[in-house]
Symmetry: C2
Subunit: 239 residues, 2 copies
């Protein structure tokens, strides 16, 4: 039997956003965004171990929210780091400790996914597709096509750009799922600025070349008020 | 004094979309999408000459809509072509004839913009910025940053992609505005598949290298039901 984990990364910026509630706590169709996100993974597999990475300053607030909303999905909360990389690393440290307490081949048959807390609309089928593909290929992540015309800065002159073939470019989503040993080892590297997601960390380690699965446009990342309004529309479509 | 034109390109696909009304005719905050689009340019400059390119099959429908909605913004309707390139070319033929009827240096001081009919949320300030920049630089168009992680297909193996620096990539919007003589000359080229917008046509002609202005995320292209719902939200924000 396969063990599955998911690390849900929720906002390094946290309460520094000002008077507004951080996006992960905004109430979407009756519940904070993060609860929808955790629910999606729990709905996919009741046995999945959920690790939520939150800035320290938000932990009490989250705990109170869980009480207020009677939110009972099992999960462990871990402290966030300075960047997304450090937050994921903190989540992985916990998993490593948990697995080390088990038998010798402790990392066999364990998959770890990493998912953005502000992608509450991830579907059960997309999660399933990504974990399944990762089982076969050591690593997998969803992508969607670019639908607008795309241009690239030449760097030579300000405001001058060259045309590129948009059919070759894809936008990256989460969850990004990997064999546990590869992901944990990859995150032992020193942090680099170009580590914008987990695939980039794993590829830099050179131990595996993750493959892609078909993402969904609906699996959007809520970062602006417009995104939030779209999510409201999409959630209503689902119910 | 400067003469300004705008060619508004409205949907080659037209009524072939099936039972649904084409996006340019859908009613957004009380009026068909296209009326908002024409209004934006009229609001920017009452003297701008508006050329609307429509598939033949939609012309009577549009005329009736204008009557029903008491829509009085002056504009000329021109037949659409097989692709966007051919549609723009048809609009330019009309402008060329109109200008040729004038004095010798007929193309001096004339600017032509090309705009997607299904971008009704274009702001007055964005239109102004693009026409002003085009006056100085021969050609200008709006771009916005890519906010998601971006990957590029290597073509070597299916499902394998390389990471790219997203800060170098930008999504292209309209209006795209050019000196009339350059744009008309560029559209005398034979059609190529890579002509996805007007900048690509002008650059292929090699007569000018258009520069960019700062676009706006709100200036979205309505192509899906989700886009339409977003436009509804944004329109309500404006009023």
């Amino acid at each position: 039997m396969q063990d599955k984990y998911v690390i849900i990364v929720a906002g390094g910026k946290g309460l520094r956003m000002g008077s507004d509630s951080p996006k992960q706590f905004q109430v979407l169709c009756g519940r904070p965004v993060l609860m929808h996100t955790l629910d999606a993974f729990y709905d996919y597999d009741r046995a999945i171990r959920i690790i939520l990475v939150l800035p320290d300053v938000q932990m009490v607030y989250w705990k109170n929210l869980c009480t207020d909303y009677d939110f009972n999905i099992p999960h462990v909360v871990v402290s966030g780091g300075e960047t997304r990389f450090h937050s994921v690393k903190n989540g992985l440290s916990l998993i490593e400790k948990q697995l080390a307490a088990k038998e010798q081949n402790w990392m066999d048959n364990v998959l770890i996914g990493v998912h953005d807390g502000v992608r509450p609309l991830v579907s059960k089928s997309l999660i399933a597709r990504t974990y399944e593909q990762a089982t076969l290929e050591k690593g997998a992540y969803p992508i969607i096509p670019v639908t607008d015309s795309l241009r690239k800065s030449t760097g030579a002159t300000a405001k001058k750009f060259v045309s590129v073939d948009r059919s070759k470019y894809f936008l990256v989503q989460t969850p990004q799922v990997f064999w546990a040993d590869l992901l944990i080892a990859a995150y032992k590297q020193d942090y680099k600025e170009e580590f914008t997601d987990d695939v980039s960390v794993v590829e830099a380690a050179g131990t595996c070349h993750p493959t892609t699965v078909e993402g969904k446009r609906e699996n959007l990342k809520i970062t602006t008020p417009i995104d939030f309004a779209i999510a409201q529309i999409l959630m209503k479509c689902k119910t």
